[in-house]
């Protein structure tokens, strides 16, 4: 088990290194400098700006300095937002994305599992079809459409919610619905198909034969066995969702970090691009790593088989 963890960890570090290098190389290959403006300035001012940002040093040197800073968790200073360190930008904005993300994950798991379990239990009957139709709707409508529609219907027309911002608990409702719709659908379908298999397994028949009540079977045996694919999916979902959705945050005016993924590239803000990419990559790898461990913890078979493979 320990070797399993250590190996995964080392791979994680290696992947990160490759990622950082690749991003650095690609970014410098793209035309367009971070110092663009519609109004050209005198060559002297251009030179001042370049010296200030260290763009006149050779590439290899820039790369070396950057790697050294990374090891000290210093992600550098943003070029476009001149007096903000990348750390500060991420710090200030991440908390909003994180809050919305956590609410969204909880909603996805709760709603998705409910839909999926109901669908599995009432397999091929009306409730199954209803759940699956709802799931497909959530999956098929892109957030780009769902968010403005929700905003227009529920905030502008019916005035139930505020149009934008995250000031009170009610303000979380609309963005969460828009953000979770896809994952609810996905989780529902996952649980449903896994659970249908599980329901036909031998040990469930044994439990029924033993005289266990229906809901007890579902709670104590079915759900735990069906959760495994969801755990794996959650690893990926968590990293994606807590780093913010560009579209949802734009439409509901949430000051999260989603927009920086796009904006930093448009601005050619080198340190911010790399900082955000590294941050996201670390989060993603850590979440998947945790999901792997959780999987091994939850399913005893993995532990035994896993360690056998290692030997």
């Amino acid at each position: 088990m320990v070797r399993f963890i250590v190996r995964k960890f080392l791979f994680m570090i290696l992947s990160l290194y490759v990622l950082v290098t690749a991003t650095f190389v690609l970014m410098n290959a793209v035309p367009g400098s971070p110092l663009q403006r519609e109004k050209a300035t005198s060559p002297q001012i251009q030179k001042n700006l370049e010296a200030f940002y260290g763009l006149d040093k050779p590439l290899i040197q820039q790369y070396g300095v950057y790697l050294k800073n990374l090891l000290q968790f210093d992600l550098g200073i943003s070029m476009k937002k001149r007096f903000y360190s990348v750390n500060k930008i991420i710090n200030d904005s991440f908390k909003y994305s994180l809050r919305l993300g956590i609410v969204s994950i909880i909603t996805s798991v709760v709603a998705g599992c409910t839909l999926g379990i109901i669908a599995a239990l009432y397999h091929r009957r009306f409730l199954d079809n209803l759940s699956m139709v709802l799931a497909v709707i959530g999956l098929a409508i892109p957030s780009m459409v769902m968010a403005p529609v929700l905003q227009y219907l529920l905030a502008v027309k019916l005035r139930i919610f505020k149009v934008a911002g995250l000031d009170g608990p009610l303000d979380y409702v609309l963005p969460t619905i828009a953000l979770s719709s896809v994952s609810i659908a996905f989780i529902a379908r996952l649980i449903r198909s896994t659970m249908i298999e599980v329901l036909h397994a031998d040990y469930i028949r044994t439990a029924k034969a033993k005289g266990l009540a229906g809901h007890a079977i579902v709670w104590r045996h079915c759900i735990r066995n069906s959760m495994l694919p969801v755990v794996t999916y959650l690893g990926y979902l968590t990293a994606n969702v807590i780093t913010g959705s560009v579209i949802i945050e734009a439409i509901f005016a949430i000051p999260g970090m989603g927009k920086f993924f796009v904006q930093s590239v448009v601005d050619r803000d080198y340190p911010l691009i790399m900082g955000i990419t590294v941050f996201y990559a670390v989060l993603l790898m850590v979440c998947r790593f945790l999901a792997d461990i959780a999987y091994a913890l939850v399913d005893p078979r993995m532990r035994i088989l896993g360690s056998k493979v290692e030997r």
Partner: protein, 565 residues
């Protein structure tokens, strides 16, 4: 087994805990934070004015992007300027009509040769940290923006001062720059040559003062509420990065009785549709003039229903010709293309915001002399006409002159944007119908686009130019002088250069404008240096009851002297 249960319980606690934190944390962020500096946001009847204390007057609007820094030496975008207008004040300021009026300068004297200005400052202006505003602040700030270390984009705005350009290039010392504080309230400015519009120039944010004690040694002083020190009619009391800014009335402002708003809340919202929805649900009071935009698909309906107004602003939309290579090196071909489009049709069917067709470069809201606008004094209607037959003839002649048997492959380049795309497609279509030429379309993302244009790797390219200050020289020198870095089409005419150089050195306002007009006429009527299309407008919407919140001559929101009735 037990370990797993424990982990499950812990995980649940963590999740529930963060959910609680999310909800309560959200509430805390939104309530107005206690201001660290003296003075609270509500006025408990401490003022001497006899007006009854009603509920605080609040004005709310949005901005599409966050000011990177509130340091006036570093503003490059309209949004920073809109916020800065309420926080800082310089020697002179621009009223909403674009006229320079005294602010911190009580009076001034000019030497006979027009090169030396002596300003006398008011003695009752204060910084928010208690320091008085003095002439030393101005000397410090002007030298600071010119200093190479500051790396200010708009440092060139101060190049009218003696030795300013040299100091910025590291070839002179700060002491040699032509600005000096003779005493606490007297500022002496020495210019390279007489500049009749100097008073307009000093309204620009690059000439606003900053407080030395607040700035020295603190490079990020202007990015946080706790360290920002200002001298204007409002003070910053809250700043949630990426979220909102809250400004409250400055009780120490010398003219506080002229200021009516108590609180101004600025929310940062990028998405146009969200801004519009916020306006519809009374979450904000204003849209337009770089403080939020009405979504393009709503413009027509908003104007028709009277919910919004259109106002001309000092910006021009045009296409650049690359005069360095075929076929647009030929003046007849350039004229043909300019004459073969129907500007009004584009305005009526594509942009739909009552813009005005442009036949020159200087927009109508730029001032002239004697209370008239520049365009009133020198109308552009005579420069050229839209005439398809004439255009066809000119095209044929031009091709012949260049020795081309048929029109070569050319591309129209624009920066990626739905609006520019629609206009470009319409114009290409007009050329196809009227001239029988096929022009290809290409679009690039903004940064790449600017580089391509700068390197003359285009045939025709979209361009737009907005006023830095209220004078026609800003729309002529910068765009058609051969030495200008913004003249991407590399148009060059020595007579035009000569006229513009003379205009800059001229001591008589009328004479300078006449020379600018002549230069513009040569560049357009004779040489068709660029393809003017329209003069910009802005669509604004405001809630009833608000007065004196307007789009200024440059199309920026001017809200400082507004009131709610």
């Amino acid at each position: 087994m037990r370990l797993r249960n424990l982990l499950t319980v812990m995980l649940t606690l963590v999740l529930v805990g963060s959910l609680l934190a999310a909800c309560t944390g959200g509430n805390k962020e939104s309530s107005p934070s206690a201001s660290p500096s003296a003075g609270s946001s509500s006025e408990p009847g401490a003022s001497s004015s006899p007006e009854p204390q009603g509920p605080p007057k609040e004005f709310r609007f949005t901005l599409g992007s966050e000011p990177p820094s509130l340091d006036p030496a570093l503003y490059t975008d309209a949004q920073s300027h809109i916020v800065g207008l309420g926080l800082f004040e310089g020697l002179y300021r621009l009223d909403p009509d674009g006229n320079a009026v005294p602010a911190l300068a009580e009076s001034y004297e000019v030497s006979d040769d027009g090169k030396t200005y002596t300003f006398k400052l008011r003695k009752d202006a204060k910084w928010t940290n208690g320091d008085p505003v003095t002439a030393h602040d101005f000397e410090y700030s002007w030298k600071r923006i010119l200093a190479p270390e500051t790396a200010a984009d708009y440092a060139y705005m101060l190049f009218y001062l003696e030795n300013a350009e040299q100091y910025n290039a590291g070839e002179a010392s700060a002491d040699q720059v032509g600005v000096k504080a003779l005493d606490d309230y007297t500022l002496e400015v020495k210019l390279i040559s007489a500049t009749p519009y100097f008073l307009d120039i000093i309204t620009h944010n690059s000439y606003w003062p900053v407080n030395k004690n607040a700035v020295e040694g603190k490079p990020d002083w202007a990015t946080d509420v706790k360290t920002l020190v200002t001298n204007g009619p409002f003070k910053l009391t809250e700043w949630v990065h990426g979220g909102k800014l809250v400004l409250t009335k400055n009780p120490d402002y010398y003219a506080k009785d002229k200021i009516n708003f108590d609180i101004v809340t600025i929310t940062l919202v990028e998405e146009d549709s969200t801004v519009f929805n916020m306006f519809q649900t009374d979450q904000i009071d204003w849209i337009g003039a770089q403080a939020g935009s009405v979504p393009t698909d709503q413009v027509e309906q908003v104007l028709q229903s009277g919910a919004g107004q259109v106002k001309a602003i000092a910006s021009t939309y045009y296409y650049l010709y690359n005069t360095t290579k075929k076929p647009f090196n030929n003046v007849k071909i350039r004229k043909a293309f300019s004459m073969a489009i129907d500007r009004q049709a584009i305005i009526d069917n594509v942009t739909k915001a009552n813009q005005q067709p442009a036949f020159a470069l200087v927009p109508p809201s730029i001032r002239g002399t004697d209370g008239k606008s520049f365009r009133e004094m020198y109308p552009d209607s005579g420069y050229f006409q839209e005439n398809v037959e004439e255009a066809k003839r000119l095209l044929a002649e031009g091709l012949q002159e260049e020795g081309l048997s048929q029109f070569p492959q050319v591309t129209l380049l624009y920066n990626t944007n739905e609006g520019h795309k629609a206009i470009a497609e319409a114009i290409v279509d007009q050329w196809r119908k009227n001239l029988g030429v096929e022009v290809k379309l290409a679009n690039q993302e903004w940064g790449t686009f600017l580089e391509t244009r700068d390197a003359q790797q285009f045939d025709i390219a979209r361009a737009g130019w907005g006023a830095d200050f209220n004078h026609p020289i800003n729309f002529s020198y910068d765009l058609i002088h051969s030495k200008s870095g913004n003249n991407d089409g590399r148009y060059a005419n020595s007579r035009v250069d000569e006229l513009l150089d003379q205009a800059i050195l001229s001591t008589d306002e009328k004479d300078a404008m006449a020379k600018i007009a002549e230069a513009e006429k040569i560049a357009i009527a004779d040489d068709m240096a660029v393809l003017p299309i329209y003069y910009y407008t802005t669509v604004t919407m405001v809630k009833p009851g608000f007065v004196n919140v307007v789009s200024d001559y440059a199309g920026h929101l001017n809200w400082v002297y507004g009131d709610k009735q």
